[in-house]
Amino acid sequence: MAPRLSERLQAVILIAVLVVAIAGLYGLTRTLQPAGVPSFVVHGVRLVVNGSGWTIEYSSLVTTNNTAFSLLQEASHRLGFAIAYEVYQIPEGVLVTSINGSSNGEGGRYWQYWVNEAYGRVAADRSALSDDDIVTWRFDRSYEGASGA
């Protein structure tokens, strides 16, 4: 019969197992977390915002706002329309909740974005832009461009 471990030894083993498990899990979450986008200059990027019955268009010849979110922020400052968003620490990223007075959930519609017609699968501030990209924000019921009323 194996000797019975003391409470102290059991505690040491439990803490060691927990530290390894927590470190491993934390490492895994960092690996799966979409990477941040370093700031660099992009040329000729365009922004189209399709709301409920209104459209905002904006273009920038040269900018360091090289994500789908920062380009929206730039347009918001330059053209004077309001945006609202939430910043999440874990997982890191922003969620746009309102543009120009239209808020998520109104009429079952939500703000979603596409870059060159490719659906944005990561937080908008994690979506890097390249030269001549077109960012489209739609206040839509549909998902990935699928039909929606």
């Binding site: 439990l14 909740t97 998520n104 959930g105």
Partner: protein
């Protein structure tokens, strides 16, 4: 004192009327104090950690309520905490329709109550021992995954299914959040588990004690 237990619980059954029922349901003074503490841990921890998705303390409070306190606290702790937290959550994020918010709240509440009920099944094995902390921590892993699957289904059904998103897509997106939730459980269950097991064993003297046989299975 060896072989003592609080008289309130045992006397409650024979006490007539709603006071007896209340007394039996809420347990002795120590149990009540720990129950209120667990509600505070659930609410304050989750509010403080609000910016960290799925790093929360309701899960550990529900698990400890079931495994340490049982009785009404199994349901009372998660329900009371969520009664405060859910309106706060939706109040700060009024972005969804009332129907969707109510639907998701249903999945969240039943999920945490389920955690408490599973915890109550462990109660006879939970004492102030390293083994008990290890048991609670181990059981928290599959419970966290089960809770996340349940609430992911609720979010899919009420929030994104109308957008045409498949449940598989939701599960794929859920992976990172579940890993964070597991991280939360692996940190908070041993931390608060040890603290509350200690408090339950040594925190407060029983209000009224009566001698019981030394081989009683009641916790001290």
């Amino acid at each position: 004192m060896i072989g003592t237990r609080n008289a309130r619980g045992t006397a409650a059954a024979s006490r007539p009327g709603w006071r007896g029922v209340l007394s039996a349901g809420l347990g002795n003074t120590r149990t009540r104090i720990l129950g209120v503490f667990l509600i505070l841990v659930a609410v304050l921890g989750t509010v403080v950690l609000r910016d960290y998705a799925n790093i929360e303390t309701v899960f550990v409070a529900a698990l400890l309520a079931g495994s340490l306190l049982s009785r009404w606290w199994t349901v009372l702790v998660p329900l009371s905490a969520l009664l405060i937290l859910q309106p706060l959550e939706w109040g700060m994020n009024p972005t969804y329709a009332v129907e969707a918010m109510a639907g998701i709240s249903f999945f969240v509440v039943t999920g945490f109550v389920f955690v408490g009920l599973i915890g109550s099944r462990l109660r006879p094995k939970v004492l102030f021992r390293v083994k008990s902390v290890a048991l609670l921590t181990t059981i928290s892993v599959p419970l966290t995954v089960a809770y996340d699957l349940w609430t992911a289904f609720g979010e899919w059904y009420f929030l994104v299914r109308p957008l045409g998103v498949s449940f598989a897509t939701v599960l794929e997106a859920q992976v990172l959040f579940t890993l964070y939730h597991l991280l939360s459980s692996l940190i908070f269950v041993p931390l608060f588990g040890t603290t509350f097991l200690f408090l339950q064993a040594y925190g407060w003297p029983a209000e009224q004690s009566e001698p019981v046989p030394a081989d009683s299975d009641e916790p001290p």
